[in-house]
Symmetry: C2
Subunit: 362 residues, 2 copies
């Protein structure tokens, strides 16, 4: 089965991606070149039932071929391409300003998966030239200690992005801690004002949450036309399911949200042209849950013990991968699918934030 | 056909609604007695796939009887009951503080439907004892003039709720004007921070937008178990479709959002146990769009010329009413369905805002 899969590598970057060093006073070409995701405002079309039939751009859904050879979506390769373009912009910023973007991360406790994620963010930041500042707290720290650290980062002009690695130990109030992060540095995009502006037509958030943004970017890099497609999101968490369903709607998908209280979820997922799952339940999604030819984005990353692997555990996705490859037209693996994209989008958000701080954006 | 319909009137209010005059220092019973909608935070259940099967409260969906006699949901009567309870609370507040809640409304231009809506809000406010302050502007007014008026209301301690009647003349920037309204007086609930906190689990907005709140309240007054039901929302506007889909999700419905770019929307609406339509297209929804036994909430109110009616026009809903009554188990008429509930929820939000200002809430 594995031999039939064809990895997709973003080998040929489109023409619109060209190095275009520009004067900061007219630095429009700095923006939206690193990733394909357009400005959300540019997506705001009139939701008019009568005019819709005339919108040929937004109603022409590509038909899927009848025979499926499932393709593994190579998130690692696509993220690498994005990081390489971020590296180039960071270097331009350094030339222009003498400064680099700065990212501050707070890690609390000893969760091995959290430690791995932070290590990956550190390595990726260093690779692209973003200054990375890690602050760790023991499991039993207080909200006050964490908020104090956040306040210092809020005031530090060399820091352009701040994130607190989730999940937090149970005794800490997540929303209280996240609310301490300045809106202008909330590169995770979890502030309710960011979520509200993401949800509302005519508005645009300062930051789009990294994992949802990474999922959309994968779809766009694959050339998937999102508008008009049936999209099903499994899970409605604040950090993945909710913002992802909002983002898919901004791209004019017809979205259904499936969650733990949904009866017969497989009946709904079987209608999905695009299925994004963030349930956190290993192998929940079987082949019978999928529409033939669906594109499957697996955000699930449940750590399970594995003494043979480097850090003593490995990550399992929500999708029964081998089964799904027989039905889906394209699928992200775990690991190597959404994970690297999340990290790349974090770097992208930090870069964009620094450009705002350095007044290098339009 | 019309003779078979049985109006539902909220004749017997449940026991939990009792007049309970309490000392302001322990005034918990002031809250959530007027309407059935619970606090959103109280709805936040773990979205855990494994525990869901144990949640008997949230998985036991009532089966529908096989023969349907469509019931007209009498929004006018249900809203009247809510207004009467608001009257009682306003009078208690007056006794306690010597003051009453105040609502300021700004009306721009000469739209007849907008004038009607404002007249209804005025009449309803006066009926319950809320002080109503109307400011009108000509069609060609400037954003600056409107924002100045809003700023004065923001600072006026006798005003607890402010709303700008929508839609605005095209030359005015809606989000710019709405952003002038203080978050604490945004009784329409359209501020992005209100929408963000409505969307996010673990958070609660200061105000829930009136029409979506009115729709949920109708369902709750009808005794509909929302959790686990398939709900379809037609339309994704900032003021109805979007907040309604978020609110239905907070109530654990499985929500799909249908819009102008949806292909074959009737395939999706036919799966809806609860269908809420806010497309603004008269008679869009035919009997073939409905699942037998569905509950249909029609938010559509398109004004059409009608010289025989009092103000020269009448309102038409999205649903082909007579057809729908043969398939749905219950349906809201237009007018007399959602409209009066929207007004009642506006009064409720103004009342709640005044209670916060007078420090009469927990």
């Amino acid at each position: 089965m594995m031999k039939r899969m064809v990895p997709i590598v973003a080998a040929l970057w489109p023409i619109w991606f060209r190095k275009s060093f520009v004067n900061p006073s007219t630095s429009r070409s700095f923006s939206n070149q690193i990733i394909k995701s357009p400005s959300l405002l540019s997506l705001d079309l009139a939701d008019s039932w009568f005019s819709s039939s005339k919108h040929s751009d937004h109603s022409s859904i590509q038909e899927c071929p009848k025979k499926w050879i499932s393709k593994i979506i190579d998130g690692t390769a696509i993220a690498e391409g994005i990081r390489s373009r971020i590296t180039s912009e960071v270097s331009q910023i350094k030339e222009l300003t003498g400064q680099v973007p700065g990212l501050a991360v707070i890690l609390i406790g000893q969760r091995r998966d959290s430690q791995t994620y932070v290590r990956k963010k550190l390595a990726a930041s260093e690779e692209v030239g973003i200054r990375f500042k890690l602050t760790t707290f023991p499991e039993n720290c207080t909200e006050c200690e964490v908020c104090n650290a956040l306040c210092k980062f809020n005031e530090d002009p060399s820091i352009h992005g701040i994130l607190v690695q989730l999940p937090l130990p149970q005794h800490l109030d997540e929303s209280k801690i996240l609310n301490c992060i300045s809106l202008e540095k909330d590169v995770d995009g979890f502030h309710p004002l960011n979520i509200g502006t993401l949800a509302m037509q005519g508005m645009e958030p300062l930051f789009i949450p990294c994992t949802p943004k990474g999922c959309i970017e994968l779809l766009l890099q694959l050339g998937v036309e999102i508008s008009g497609k049936r999209a099903v999101v499994i899970g409605k968490s604040n950090i993945v399911g909710l913002p992802l369903s909002l983002l898919l709607q901004r791209h004019h998908a017809t979205v259904s949200i499936v969650h733990a209280f949904t009866k017969n979820p497989e009946e709904i997922t079987r209608e999905a042209d695009i299925l994004v799952t963030a349930a956190g339940v290993p192998n929940l999604i079987r082949d019978s849950w999928l529409k033939p030819g669906a594109i499957v984005i697996d955000v699930g990353t449940t750590p399970v013990e594995d003494p043979s692997s480097e850090h003593g555990y490995r990550l399992i996705g929500d999708v029964c991968f081998e089964e799904a490859t027989r039905v889906a037209s394209a699928i992200t693996p775990v690991p190597g699918g959404v994970g690297p994209m999340t990290v790349a989008m974090l770097l992208y958000n930090t870069l964009e934030s620094s450009k705002r701080a350095f007044k290098l954006t339009k």
